[in-house]
């Protein structure tokens, strides 16, 4: 049982790993323990690591010109987060990532990922499928944002991510849904009153 075992199990669901591959993956992953509130990535800096969450919960958000934060995504166990654009292109990130709870993450540097994929091209498949699934989710979120009212979006958020409620303050859920905390409060009240 080493520090990257949950990550290895996760990859193994998509691509069967050899012992050698497992060992190599373990060797390039940097385990990191973060406390609630800690930054894992800061906007303005070039993102250096792909971030994999083993336990706890992170949130990645964009801060606009009026200093308002907008939640891009939450990440709980077995999810990735971080600014792909920044890390792949080497440009400063527009997102910050912070821990919403004490969490254990694995950091995979850009260089390590490249080395990994060069050495074991089979693993491209893991990331391909990961990104493919994320794409489906993101497009659904865009469309739902355009076609569904706030209350409907809130209801389906709760159905889709019931486990997040334990970690995530309502104001961040509001932000994720694209509404203000005050309005989410009203939505919740209406839903309570109805049943």
């Amino acid at each position: 049982m080493n520090t990257a075992s949950s990550f290895i199990a996760h990859i193994n669901e998509t691509v069967q790993l050899t012992e050698e591959e497992k060992q190599f993956i373990s060797s390039i992953c940097l385990p990191l323990t973060v406390r609630q509130g800690d930054f894992v990535e800061r906007s303005g800096e070039v993102t250096r690591y792909y971030i994999y969450v083993q336990s706890g919960c992170l949130m990645t958000y964009f801060t606009d010109k009026d200093a308002v934060d907008h939640v891009a995504q939450f990440a709980t166990a077995r999810w990735w987060t971080g600014d792909l654009h920044s890390i792949t292109k080497g440009i400063p990130s527009i997102y910050s990532t912070r821990a919403l709870a004490d969490s254990e993450v694995l950091l995979l540097s850009k260089h390590s990922q490249e080395e990994l994929l060069e050495k074991y091209p089979r693993l491209e498949r893991y990331f391909r499928i990961l990104y493919q699934n994320a794409l489906v989710t993101h497009l659904h979120r865009i469309i739902q944002g355009h076609s569904a009212a706030a209350d409907e979006r809130y209801i389906s958020f709760r159905e889709k991510y019931p486990s997040l409620e334990q970690y995530v303050p309502l104001k961040y859920i509001a932000s994720y849904l694209g509404i203000t905390p005050e309005f989410l409060s009203k939505v919740r009240r209406r839903l309570m009153e109805k049943g």
Copy 2:
């Protein structure tokens, strides 16, 4: 010069192809010519093909419970479209795809893609990078939808996709931006008056 040559050139930018690979790719791509208005994919049916656009322009959209269409994405030359969720999971599609202009597309069936990737796993890389870039774009669109007003979104749409204006009626651009055609009209008027 065969029917898939533009597609092969596109892949070749990411992964250097051998002659054998090129030949195989050509053999599994189904070229299709569609006229403006034609459907390439219909919601309710299981999507059978990944759709690559060689020329022209397609749009993929979701029709909500009130029969209102919401544009998920446009696809011009060298872009892919189609409902990934439907094709990968074999469930009925929630999106339809139609030609906004006479277009030439290549269809890659689910089976052919699987065969391709099994035979030449190197090509996973092409799709991985494709999806990775799409993910960046989608997330940016979500965040912009939450942080920028309609006029700002319209301006950056025009900057980002100047070539689309020739193909795409304003009402679909409005839909893509998440506003009504009437409101886009107001936005355009305001921008005209200002300069």
